[in-house]
Symmetry: C2
DNA sequence: TGACTTAATGAACGGCCAGTCGGTAAGTAC
DNA sequence: GTACTTACCGACTGGCCGTTCATTAAGTCA
């Protein structure tokens, strides 16, 4: 019934490489169009394959999104977790390291993922849950421990570690979101490196136990 | 051609009240479904009118969104601006007041607007621009002035006022976004009041010029 | 009361796209 | 070579929803 319209394109069979290529293409398009507005046909085109091929590897568009989060974001969290585990110096130095790492990530396309999750959490609870469990919960626990340690050692003031987490991450998140959304539609500019440097400076001074510069 | 199917619903003519009612219904639905996923038919139903009626007052769905931003968010910005203008005490007290005001707003449905703008900025540049010009730019200038004043008076350390703005607003934004998205899909809880209190405490101590508690 | 104005209605239209599936061709075994 | 397996393709379907517009009825005025 279907007349293969014209010159059929050259095919290659590469079962192993496909999933990563699709995830890569999907993140790139989700990043600048949003999840809902991205057509799977375009993802396929960018990955250099046909639309149907995506369905050989991912059962639905939503599952593809979950794969993007798992393959691109979670490994970075692992790396930060490892960094914290192996750290020996002061807690303040550790936070500086975490912030530096976050700043690196903000410069990559990975920074778009939080925006996407935020935007789609209403329509795709499964995505929100994945992110909450595998990203937010882990990151929260991680930072709470860092703060608790610094307080226990007398380095930081005795503030609630749970409350300190969003205080610390808020400005980092704001930089990531700004770059991914409003920053593209206005002449207002922020230099993420400078803002984060200021933030860490202010934050560390603000939680320091006593005399400290 | 169209057979008015069944018992036509009772009509009322209320030209003046319609726009606000529509905006109200739209914000409520946008809030928990997102902009793209909200059907105009549902907005109409919630406002107690027919679908076509919306088009008597708003030319497109996008324009309706712009109206939501303008009617609900901008007046609050005006209020904060006025508060700053009339303030006489220290800059630290002023920032406390601004944070308290933000905390109040976070408890209302207005907190959903930033999430919506963020989410749709890619697909609707006009919305991003409206927000950037009439909300972000004004808010930025406002806070920069507060910081500059505090620095000039010797109350704050000489940090870059431009960089301080996202440092100050980041945690506030994060609380608003958390409540509107992830907070609904996980058992991780934050008490916005406590987090903001901690933030302001840490922030003020972090930017204070010298000895100060 | 009847003529007129205009707010309000909702069926129908048109365009879009996730997901399906019959079919093609690259690779493989013999 | 021939038969077979399976990665891959893309036209098509079905449903959704923003927008239109012919029609209806509420209000107004003489």
């Amino acid at each position: 019934m279907q007349i293969p319209s014209r010159a059929p394109k050259r095919r290659f069979r590469r079962k192993d490489a496909r999933p990563s290529e699709i995830v890569e293409a999907a993140l790139a398009l989700f990043t600048d169009r949003g999840f809902a507005a991205t057509r799977l046909e375009d993802v396929a085109a960018r990955a250099g394959i046909g639309k149907g091929t995506i369905y050989l590897y991912f059962p639905t568009k939503e599952e593809l999104f979950r794969a993007v989060v798992r393959r691109r974001l979670v490994p970075n969290l692992d790396a930060i977790e490892a960094m914290i585990a192996r750290h020996a110096g002061s807690s303040a130095e550790l936070l500086l390291g975490v912030a530096a790492r976050a700043q690196q990530l903000i410069a990559t396309d990975i920074a778009a993922i939080p925006k996407l999750v935020l935007a789609e959490s209403g329509n795709f609870p499964a995505i929100a849950q994945l992110y909450a469990e595998e990203v937010a919960k882990r990151g929260l626990a991680m930072l709470e421990r860092v703060f608790a340690r610094g307080i226990a050692s007398g380095e930081f003031r005795p503030l609630d570690p749970h409350c300190l987490v969003p205080v610390f991450t808020g400005p980092l998140l704001q930089m990531a979101l700004w770059q991914q959304s409003l920053g593209r539609h206005t002449d207002i500019q922020f230099d993420p490196a400078k803002v984060i440097e200021t933030h860490v400076d202010v934050f560390l001074r603000g939680i320091a136990a006593a005399s400290d510069a």
